[in-house]
Symmetry: C2
Subunit: 406 residues, 2 copies
C-alpha cells in the first residue's frame, strides 16, 4: 500500500504553487506557477530514482526501470494545471497518487517487469488553451502537433511561445513514446460516490462532449439616445442564447448538460449598447446521439434568435470528443483491486473529460475515481478526504501491478 501521509503532504506542498487566499489554486497551464510545479515534479521523481524527461508538447514522463526494460511502460498520470479558480485535487490527485505508487515501489524495492512511468500532461483543463486534453490528444494522434502549437489563449499568446517561455518544449516528438497501458486516478468531480458512500468509482468510460464558439455581431450604439426599436443588442441576443442552451440541455433528458462558461462583451461600456459578443458552449451526454440532437436543437434556436435580434452569427463547433469506453481488462483490474481492499465501489461514467479519454485510443486504459465533497469541482472549495485519496492510490498501485503481471 501507499504512504497516505506522504501523499497528503505532497498535495499540500504543491498547493502553494498558485495557491489562492480562498484555499484553491490558480495554476493555468504554461505559466510561471506551472513551471514551478513542473520543477518540483522533476525533483520529487528524481528523489525516487526516476529519470524525468519531457516531450515537444511539454508532457513530463518520470520513468522507473523494469526488469525487462525493452517492454513498453505501464503508465499512470493526470495533470498539474488548474482552472483560473481551481481546487487542490482536480488532476493533482492523479499525478501525486502516481508519485505515491512510485514511492511505494521504491521503498519496498519492488521490481516490475515493465518500466513504470508517471505522466504529467500539459493543458488538460483547456482553460487557457482550448480544447481540453490538448497534449494527450496530440500524444494519441487526435490533434497534430502543429495545430496544438498554434493554439492561442484569449490574449493571443501562442501555445508554443508559452511552452518555450517556461522552458518545457522538449526535443522528443510528442507521440513517439511507447506505452503498454494507462491508468488515471482522479476525483469524481460529481456527486454520486459521496451520495452513495462509495470510496472507489470504477470508471467504465467518459461521456461525449462538444465545444462551440459563437460570435454575434450587432451594432454598438448609445444607451441613452438609441430607441429600443432601433437596437441590435448583441448581449441581449447572447442572453437569449444562454437561456436556450439551458433549455436544450433540460429538454434532452436526465444526463444531458449544457453550459456557457465564457463570455466576452464588446465594447463592454456601461452606456454602450453592446455591438459584439463572443461566448462558448459546452454540451455533453453519455450518448453521442443525444449530443448530436442537442446541437441540432441549439442551432435552430440560435438561428431564430439571431434573426429576431438582427445579429450576424458565426457558430462554430471547435471540439468534438465522442463518448469513450475503457478497456474491459483494465476496468476489471480496477474493480478487482478495489474489491481486494474491501473498498465500497461502483461503476461510473465520467462526466468530465480526462487525458485517459484520449489515451484509450492508443492503449488499454481506465480510470479510478474517488469522492469529492458535494461533488464540487472547478471551484476553490473543492475538497477530498485523505483516506479516500489514499484508497484511490492503493487501487492504482494494485491495478498497475496486475497489468504488469499480465
Amino acid at each position: 500500500t501507499v504512504d497516505g501521509t506522504a501523499l497528503w503532504n505532497d498535495i499540500l506542498e504543491t498547493a502553494r504553487f498558485g495557491g489562492t487566499p480562498k484555499g484553491g489554486i490558480r495554476r493555468l497551464t504554461l505559466t510561471e506557477e506551472d513551471r514551478l510545479v513542473r520543477d518540483w515534479f522533476i525533483a520529487a521523481c528524481a528523489a525516487l530514482g526516476c529519470t524525468v524527461t519531457y516531450d515537444s508538447m511539454g508532457n513530463q514522463f518520470a520513468r522507473r526501470p523494469g526488469t525487462d526494460d525493452s517492454l513498453p511502460p505501464i503508465t499512470m498520470g493526470s495533470h498539474l494545471d488548474t482552472q483560473p479558480t481551481g481546487g487542490k485535487f482536480d488532476g493533482i490527485v492523479g499525478v501525486l497518487g502516481g508519485l505515491a505508487v512510485l514511492r511505494a515501489l521504491h521503498a519496498t524495492g519492488h521490481e516490475t517487469r515493465h518500466p513504470i512511468e508517471l505522466i504529467n500532461w500539459t493543458n488538460e483543463e483547456g482553460a487557457r488553451f482550448a480544447p481540453a486534453m490538448l497534449s494527450s490528444g496530440v500524444f494519441a494522434g487526435v490533434f497534430t502537433e502543429q495545430e496544438a502549437l498554434d493554439k492561442t489563449d484569449r490574449t493571443g499568446i501562442r501555445f508554443e511561445d508559452a511552452l518555450v517561455g517556461i522552458g518545457y518544449r522538449g526535443t522528443e516528438p510528442c507521440g513517439q513514446h511507447p506505452v503498454a497501458a494507462y491508468f488515471e486516478l482522479h476525483i469524481e468531480q460529481g456527486p454520486i460516490l459521496e451520495a452513495e458512500n462509495r470510496t472507489i468509482g470504477v470508471v467504465t468510460g467518459v461521456q461525449g462532449m462538444r465545444w462551440y464558439e459563437v460570435t454575434l455581431t450587432g451594432r454598438d450604439s448609445h444607451a441613452g439616445s438609441t430607441p429600443m426599436t432601433m437596437r441590435a443588442d448583441a448581449l441581449l441576443a447572447a442572453a437569449r442564447m444562454i437561456e436556450a442552451v439551458n433549455e436544450v440541455a433540460l429538454a434532452h433528458g436526465p444526463d444531458a448538460v449544457g453550459t456557457v462558461g465564457l463570455i466576452e462583451n464588446r465594447p463592454n461600456s456601461r452606456n454602450v449598447v453592446p455591438g459584439e459578443v463572443f461566448f462558448t458552449i459546452d454540451l455533453r451526454d453519455p450518448d453521442d446521439a443525444v449530443v448530436e440532437r442537442m446541437e441540432a436543437a441549439f442551432r435552430d434556436r440560435a438561428t431564430a434568435i439571431a434573426a429576431e435580434c438582427g445579429m450576424q452569427m458565426v457558430l462554430e463547433r471547435v471540439w468534438d470528443s465522442p463518448a469513450v469506453h475503457f478497456d474491459p481488462a483494465c476496468i476489471d483490474a480496477v474493480r478487482g483491486a478495489a474489491g481486494s481492499f474491501g473498498y465500497p465501489a461502483r461503476d461510473i461514467v465520467s462526466g468530465a473529460g480526462h487525458d485517459a479519454a484520449y489515451m484509450a485510443r492508443i492503449t488499454p486504459t481506465t480510470m479510478i475515481f474517488v469522492p469529492c465533497a458535494g461533488g464540487l469541482s472547478h471551484n476553490e472549495a473543492e475538497s477530498a478526504e485523505s483516506a479516500d485519496v489514499t484508497a484511490g492510490a492503493n487501487v492504482l498501485l494494485r491495478a498497475v501491478l496486475e497489468a504488469d503481471a499480465r
Copy 2:
C-alpha cells in the same frame, strides 16, 4: 461666422490621438491618448491668444479676456475623451466648435464684455470611471472632489492616480471657477434631426438616467459533471436579468430605454459553470417618475430571478441624474440664433447625458445639437456632415455673443 474648414481640419487632426483602424477613436479618459489631445488643446488655444489652465479634476479652461475682465466668463465646452470604440464627433464637436468660436473672435478682433472660456471636461463618458460627467459633476457640487478622486476603473486604478499620471492634476480647486453661462454644442447621437431634415436641435433639457451595479453570486462548478439541477449558474441568472431589463424598458412606453452595457463573468472558463457575474444597468426616460417605476419593476423581477436561480444578489444604484430643464433665456438665444441663420431647427430633449446637465445646476445653460448619420453614436462609424457641424458652431457663436450682450 466660424471657419468651417478650419473646424473640420481640427476634427480630423485630433482624431489621430487614439485613432482606430475602423476610423473611430479609442481615447479613454486620463490615458496617454487623452494627455496628447490635452496638450494639443493647450497649443491650439494659446495660438489664439488664450490662457489655458486646468483645475484639480483636470478640467481645462481656455480663456479669452473680455473688456470687463471682472465679469465671470461666458463658457462653452464639452469633452475630448471617448468610449473604448467611440467616434470622431461625440464631445469633440463641442470642444472644437468652441475653438472655432474663439478663432472667429480672434480673427475679427471682436471684443466681448465678458471673458469667453472654452472648457474641456474630464471623464464625461463614464466609460473608464463611472459615473459619466464626473468632473463637471464635481464642478457643479453634485459629487465631492474626494469621492471623484477615489473612483477606480475596472482594473482598480484610482482616478487621482491616473490624473496625476498624465500630469493634469491642477492646483485650482475644482468648482471655484466663476461662470456666467454655459453653452454646449454636441451631435444629437439619436435619429430625430436627420429623419426630419433639421440642421439644429434646440435642446430644452436632458432625460433622467440612473446607473446600477449588480453582483450575482452562485457557485462555480464543473460544466461536465454537475447535473443541471445542482447548479447555481450566475451567468444564466444574469441572462434572465438582461432579458428583464429589456422587457421592463419596452413595458414603460415609447421613450424608456434600458441597457446592460458591461458584464464580467467569473471565472470565465469554458468548462466552469459561472459562479459570479458583475453587470451594469442603465435606465432612462425623460420623466423621472417613469425611471422610478422602471427601477421598481426591475427590482421585483431581479429578486424573483435571483431566488429561482439560487443567487445571492447585490443590486446597487450607483448614479441618479434626474431630468434637467435648461434655462429659457439660453434656449431662446439658441433658437433665435438658428432662426437668424435660417437653419431648419426643432426643440429636442437629449437622450444622452452631457456636462451641460450638471452645469445647468449652477449657471444658465443650454445645448445645441447637430445631426449625425443614422443617429449612430458610441460607435466607430459615428459620422456627421461638415456643413452641419459648421452650422452648429455658428449658432454657438451667435448664442454666446447674445449672452454676452445681455
